[in-house]
Amino acid sequence: MKAVTVETAKIERPAKTKASRFFSTMLQQRYLYLMSIPFVIWVFVFSYLPLWGWTMAFQKFKPAKSFFEQDWVGFDYFKELFHDDTFFQALRNTLAMSVMGLIAGFTIPIILAILLNEVRQQMFKRVVQTISYLPHFVSWVVAAGIISKMLSTDNGVVNEVLVGLHLIHEPIQFMAKGNLFWSIVTASDVWKETGWNTIIYLAAIAGIGPELYEAARVDGASRLQQVWHITLPGIRSTIIILIIISIGHLISIGFEKQFLLGNNLVRDYSQTLDLYALNYGLGMGRYSFGTAINIFNSVVSVILLFAANGIFKKITKESII
């Protein structure tokens, strides 16, 4: 059976057009296509079908009414959205925290991965790695509890240490200062996720052939030079792919951290777009308004993703699409 197919394909190839060649390849690889069908369906059902719900943003949506009974209002909800100061504040907070998170979330794990890679003592390396990725498994609810306890003015560790070292005279109300909120979120994110994010870079580093290092050593390269000229270029493509993907997610940073760490005093700095959608959309039963916010999120995400991809393609010839 297989032999026959291959043979016919061989014989007829010169006479075939591009399209028919595509079909013959398809026929040839029919089992592969068959195997991928469930996943295509899965993606369609979970990622494309829900897009139908976007129609809600253009209606004055009332639950339990059929699609045809809804009132259509066009872009009313978007107009309302763009006239709301709170929305722009939420947008600013979202972008600020995600950019800070992006910068810290890339540099620190890469540095840690390189440092760990240079450690010769296997035991020490394992212990550091395990300890550093443990917080990843702590839920944000618990983490937020630990963080606010540590930063508390009432016997909080951080304030005790700072006062003990005479760096400050009065305990600082960390959680009540809006201008510190972004940093607190970024720092706790680093604490929680650095170890985990390191794993992927360590794996990438492990994939670099040892002969490159050997050659470099023969040429007299120092440890630092090896890192700069071999390790970093070796994991460059991994870094770029991860950056492009994260840029696509810039605007959807969720709300867990901000919701759990925030309070009314720092609301001007802690309200993210997702929280805004929750409070002013779903929380008030304004489904259409909530949907409008999320459409805005998705559109911005797609634009950012393509922009990042395009830029990296130009500069480094690496891209994901």
């Binding site: 339990a64 606010s148 009432d154 009314n264 409070n279 039963g285």
Partner: protein, 588 residues
């Protein structure tokens, strides 16, 4: 996921069992089974119970003719941390009587969002207590009009509510009954003062029990105590006053007291003129500015807990449970868990008493301003309920005298006994209630159904001349600790309520209470309300924590923000709702 599976299998087995009992083993389909139950009235299941029904034969007999097992799913907006999945004594008795098992879910976090989600998903539990969010479910057609069901199947509910049933109507335009009012109590005389300002017993004792009537009195006892005892026995700092400002607790502990100290009664976020029924956003009253100025002053002199606006609810509770917080401005139900912990630890002098604190002596603390029967919050039957008739009969049974007593007092012979025709709680049971409340509540289930059932309030008596609830003066005093009794005796009072102005000093409000007027979610009043809330919740903490010199500036900015966000329009629209309510209630 796992949990869902178990629930599903339990449901399945219950259904199967019901099928067997009803004698229609041929079908194991949910709906057809229930149909069968309804029409046949399941001869087999019933005959077994006739005897017991006869034994209880009184006017409650209508309660449960059909006692074949059935499971109703139930969602409540209020948390119930002690809920024991129907394994407590009261629930077991309830299942025995009605055949109903509840698969209950109590909201965690923000219930409004949960209800909104429920409304769109189209998957409703059989019974829903949506409190103020019922509007979302009505809009979605998720709850059914109960008028006819009550009329046909609910003699107890009709008897208990009487004319008050009219106050359950939804709006002027839609006079259906979507929720049976189960929060408001009938014929209620309130005995429990759970609000006002709280002070630890040791603080007033040390000061020699001075009169605590104004914020200055309150401040000075705390001040003098903390000067003498800056730390507790372990060297941790004592805290003057801690506020609970996590999410909606902000209303209870920070913003409502501004109304009560200035002589208003609780009308949610509004202050309502009693003659014109005009509403204003209560923060715009100049009197309240002075209350917040006082809090600002408390912060300035270090008596206000610095973490008041930063701490989460559980941190607040654990702080109170250490006994280091000398004064609270809260409601007893909000800090009760912490107080129970203090009692369990035997620190009775660190528990709290309630004082009618106002800005000055000529203002009356209006906690006991009578509202009449409030209607409002209640329990609803969803449009997808398997068997609305069984559901309404179940709710009707909850309203029966038999069950009200069961819920409030527990099981006769176990949790109370009858001596000389009076219900009495034995000493050993009372000791457990006082000192080991959480475990006792879990086992007994006493009080679990309070907000699910139409009920008589404190001070109402049944046919035997006994009170329906345990909150009557004599019994209340039994629940007081020695420290509490000592303090009360020093103030020549028997209950905390004796310290507060009485109901008859006020005129009954024509609209119940404004906080339970239903506002549709899409209405501009709701949207503006959320905007105002955001501004207020940000500005009030800022104003309190500011340097006293900056207070006026921040307050002016706050008022300007409100104006800019359209507070006047919101007030005007809300006034219309209040006036509508007055018309709806007085029209019958």
């Amino acid at each position: 996921m796992q949990r869902k599976k178990t629930t599903a299998s339990v449901l399945m087995s219950v259904t199967l069992l019901a099928g067997l009992l009803a004698g229609c083993g041929s079908s194991n389909n949910d709906t057809s089974n229930n149909e069968a139950n309804k029409s046949n009235n399941s001869a087999t299941a019933n005959s077994g119970n006739t005897a017991s029904n006869d034994a209880n034969a009184n006017k409650d007999a209508a309660a449960a003719e059909d006692t074949s097992p059935i499971t109703f799913s139930f969602f409540a907006e209020d948390p119930n941390p002690n809920w024991n999945n129907m394994q407590d004594d009261v629930s077991k008795e309830l299942t025995k009587k009605t055949g109903v098992t509840l698969d209950a879910e109590f909201a965690v976090g923000d219930p409004a969002q949960k209800v909104a989600l429920m409304a769109t998903s189209g998957e409703y539990p059989d019974l829903i207590s949506a409190k103020g969010d019922i509007g979302k479910l009505v809009d979605a057609g998720a709850v059914i009009d109960l008028t006819d069901l009550i009329d046909k199947y609910a003699p107890n509910i009709k008897r208990v509510l009487g004319d008050n049933l009219a106050r359950a109507k939804y709006t002027n335009a839609d006079q259906s009954i979507y929720a049976i009012p189960t929060w408001a109590a009938v014929n209620e005389q309130r005995f429990v003062a759970g609000g006002g300002f709280e002070l630890q017993h040791r603080v007033v004792k040390e000061a020699g029990y001075p009169e605590i009537r104004t914020v200055q009195d309150y401040e000075s006892v705390i001040k003098s105590y903390i000067e003498k005892h800056p730390t507790d026995e372990n060297g941790n700092k004592n805290i003057g006053v801690s506020l609970n400002a996590d999410d909606w607790h902000m209303y209870i502990s920070v913003t409502n007291p501004a109304v009560s100290t200035t002589g208003g009664s609780d009308d949610g976020e509004y202050y309502i003129d009693q003659t014109t029924n005009e509403a204003i956003y209560h923060f715009r009253r100049p009197e309240e500015k002075e209350y917040f100025r006082w809090l600002n002053h408390m912060n300035d002199i270090g008596l206000l807990d610095k973490e008041s606006f930063v701490q989460k609810y559980d941190q607040y509770k654990s702080k109170v449970a250490t006994g280091r917080v000398l004064g609270l401005i809260d409601q007893d139900w909000d800090y009760n868990d912490a107080q129970q912990a203090l009692k369990t630890a035997g620190k009775f002098d660190e528990t709290y008493g309630h004082y009618p604190v106002t800005m000055s002596k000529d203002i009356k603390q209006a906690d006991f301003w009578p509202t009449g029967f409030m209607g409002g919050y209640g329990i609803s039957i969803s449009s997808t309920c398997k068997d609305p008739v069984r559901a309404i009969k179940f709710l009707d049974y909850l309203a029966s005298d038999e069950f009200q007593i069961l819920n409030n007092w527990g099981i006769e012979g176990k949790h109370y006994k009858i001596e000389d025709g009076k219900r009495v709680v034995p000493q050993e049971v009372q000791d457990r209630i006082n000192n080991d409340n959480t475990a006792f509540t879990k086992e007994s289930g006493i009080g679990f159904y309070w907000n699910m059932m139409v009920h008589y309030g404190d001070g109402a008596k049944d046919e035997s001349g006994n009170y329906y609830t345990k909150n009557f003066p004599e019994q209340l005093v039994n629940g007081y600790s020695d420290a509490e009794k000592e303090t009360l005796a020093a103030y020549k009072a028997t209950t905390w309520k004796d310290l507060f102005p009485k109901e008859d000093e006020f005129k009954v409000k024509a609209y119940g209470a404004a906080w339970n007027i239903q506002i549709p979610g899409e209405d501009e009043v709701s949207i503006l309300g959320t905007k105002m809330k955001d501004i207020t919740w940000k500005r009030i903490p800022q104003a309190i924590l500011a340097k006293p010199a900056d207070f006026d500036k921040i307050w002016d900015e706050y008022m300007a923000d409100l104006d800019k966000a359209g507070v006047k329009k919101m007030e005007a629209d809300y006034t219309k709702y209040v006036q509508d309510r007055v018309a709806l209630w007085s029209g019958n």
